[in-house]
Symmetry: C2
Subunit: 385 residues, 2 copies
């Protein structure tokens, strides 16, 4: 018997679409909140049209980021539906939206009005650029924010051809920050009885994670550039070339460097003054990389990983998704989660990383069809249909 989840009993009205907002409300649902997703009748969340698709044409992408939510179809441009929505607002603890600034006002639903109806309400907005500032009305997509935030400028191998992070990390980070802001604000609201407005922007949420890229710029005045797989101040801490491909080694201190040289049977590296300390190695990365690659080229990855593990030197293969899904450790931790609805086959997704008192939260196996819960939610929240 597991205890109730930490957000059990919390009611969230979810007006979000696509990724950042839905990822936020999925986090809240995973932690026990009741999330009611308000969708436009007919088409619903834009992500319902995003690939990849399941055999019957439903979006697997949508299914993977909307587990455990209830879908209520309401057209906020129609007066009757808007009136129903405002009755739901009275019963909610949290409202989350990720429209462009001004859209809620255009529906006649500015935050002030919602909080007049329900003074305890927390109104969280997640947008590209935030509710204020000269660019606030600008449209944002993940790639735009990765480019504008500087994250793209430090990812990849070449300043003239930087890489986008392979997941939509600016959306994900914004979902995480917004969820954190909401749960923190609830604590204040529980104490004072008064809600608040939260205004999060994808651009700031991304900039706030750049850690030593900002610090290096602050100290040197030089903008950092892409480093491939290297770390700017720890070495060796990157991918190297074995006989059958690349793998990573992280020997972040001098003890680990000694052990690595022993595994390589390379006392000449230990004696090399250019490689003596971490600071030396970080200052001579090309030399370090060349020295190691030439010594690693004669064995396959599997053999190096076994030798390095035996010596206690952190190293790892660069796994593709098939290998990740097959990992016995991740399976033992229970990270994978299958979702289903109606006649679709069950779909593999990543579950939740939380483990509370030794238990994974029990996640819902369902994702909602458009409007599937309209009647039920109106009955349960409003006592009517």
């Amino acid at each position: 018997m597991t205890p109730p989840l930490p957000l059990h009993g919390l009611r969230v009205l979810d007006l979000t679409r696509v990724l950042a907002g839905p990822y936020c409300t999925m986090l809240l649902a995973d932690l026990g909140a009741e999330v009611v997703k308000i969708e436009r009748p007919g088409s619903g969340d834009d992500a319902r049209q995003f690939g990849p698709f399941m055999e019957n044409g439903d979006s697997a992408y949508f299914a993977s980021i909307n587990r455990g939510k209830k879908s209520v179809a309401l057209d906020l441009k129609q007066e009757a539906d808007r009136a129903t929505f405002l009755r739901l607002v009275e019963k909610a603890d949290v409202l989350v939206e990720n429209f462009r600034p001004g859209t809620m006002e255009s529906f006649g639903l500015p935050s002030q009005r919602l909080r007049e109806i329900n003074p305890r309400l927390i109104v969280a907005s997640a947008t590209g650029f935030g509710q204020t500032g000269p660019d606030s009305r600008r449209a944002a997509y993940d790639v735009i924010i990765q480019a504008l935030s500087g994250l793209m400028s430090i990812t990849g191998y070449d300043s003239s051809q930087p890489a986008r992070v392979g997941n939509s990390i600016s959306d994900i980070l914004t979902g995480l920050f917004t969820a954190l802001g909401i749960v923190a604000a609830l604590r204040q609201c529980d104490a004072t009885g008064t809600g608040c407005d939260l205004d999060l922007s994808m651009l700031e949420c991304t900039v706030a994670t750049l850690e030593n890229a900002v610090t290096r710029f602050a100290v040197s005045g030089q903008p950092p550039t892409p480093l491939g797989t290297r770390h700017p101040s720890i070495a060796p801490f990157q991918a190297f070339q074995a006989a059958d491909g690349q793998f990573v080694i992280a020997a972040g201190n001098d003890t680990l460097w000694h052990r690595l040289c022993e595994v390589l049977a390379a006392p000449e590296l230990l004696a090399d003054p250019k490689l003596a300390t971490n600071r030396d190695r970080a200052a001579n990365l090309d030399h370090l990389e060349a020295c190691l690659n030439v010594r690693l080229a004669h064995r396959p990855i599997r053999e190096w990983l076994a030798l390095l593990a035996a010596a206690g030197v952190p190293a790892a293969p660069i796994r593709h998704l098939g290998e990740v899904v097959a990992d016995p450790h991740l399976q033992a931790r229970g990270i994978w989660h299958y979702v289903q609805n109606g006649d679709n086959p069950s779909l593999l997704t990543a579950g939740t990383p939380f483990v509370i008192d030794g238990h994974k939260p029990t996640l819902s196996p369902m994702w909602p069809k458009l409007g599937e819960h309209t009647e039920r939610v109106l009955r349960e929240w409003l006592g009517s249909t």
Copy 2:
């Protein structure tokens, strides 16, 4: 007059080092918690030795991720200091640690003992692989987790040479998930009077953010590969080549595609059946990219950005950190924050993305010297020194 911050009054004992844990406790401090950083006398947090360094030799890196915390020097291997620590545990709401599993037990400080002393305590552990499972004792660094999680396999341009995300994103994500778990658990603890153990792993925190990479593998059985700057299912949504370098365009629907073709004065693209719908464009990415690059090559980035902005097509330069810091919008939003201690010059860092009721939380301008607050915290928390 701004209201108190949402975590005002919360007492956090912080045993974390390096990045994931300190990022978590910085988030809690930014939201108003009192964070007391317990550091080993003499050397303290390992990150105090990490570059880049300020002129007087202090770590700018450490300063940038430890604002607003108090440093208390205690050696948990010494009985007298351990006894003091246990008296602090009685007064704390939250304890956060990111030692390898087993380390707290080796200090004689397993979670059970801490929670016997203080049943309301939330004990959060952030580790590479979690407290359980076959790999739980394995050492983790960001690059190891980026490689093992599959994130590296989808970042960059080439499967044989994938790229590491330019910031230590696995650490950052773990810091965010841990902070969210803590604040959610506090809500439960406020209701029941009982704390809990939280067990977060960097590996799961990273896997939990892979979104459509997992979905594509689930649907197709094919592991996704690096896509450069491209999106797997939206096009055009990537970097293109102008006369003087690359910039990004995100024309994620057919309306925006029409507008883009008009800006390019290219009716032949609108008539091309390979590019008719988003699904067609996403299926013919090489063709799309070639068609656009040849038409974009004759003007500089600045001109294209002006033309696309006028037409309402989302586009952006790939900015380096110097440009990001100079951005008037980010300055208006107040994302930059300076920290200082003693004789060091003030250091530029990224502040907090939260905006609550129109206000940025007031962040501390201080980062702590090792042991700077030992006397003060013992006096304030324990009424003695």
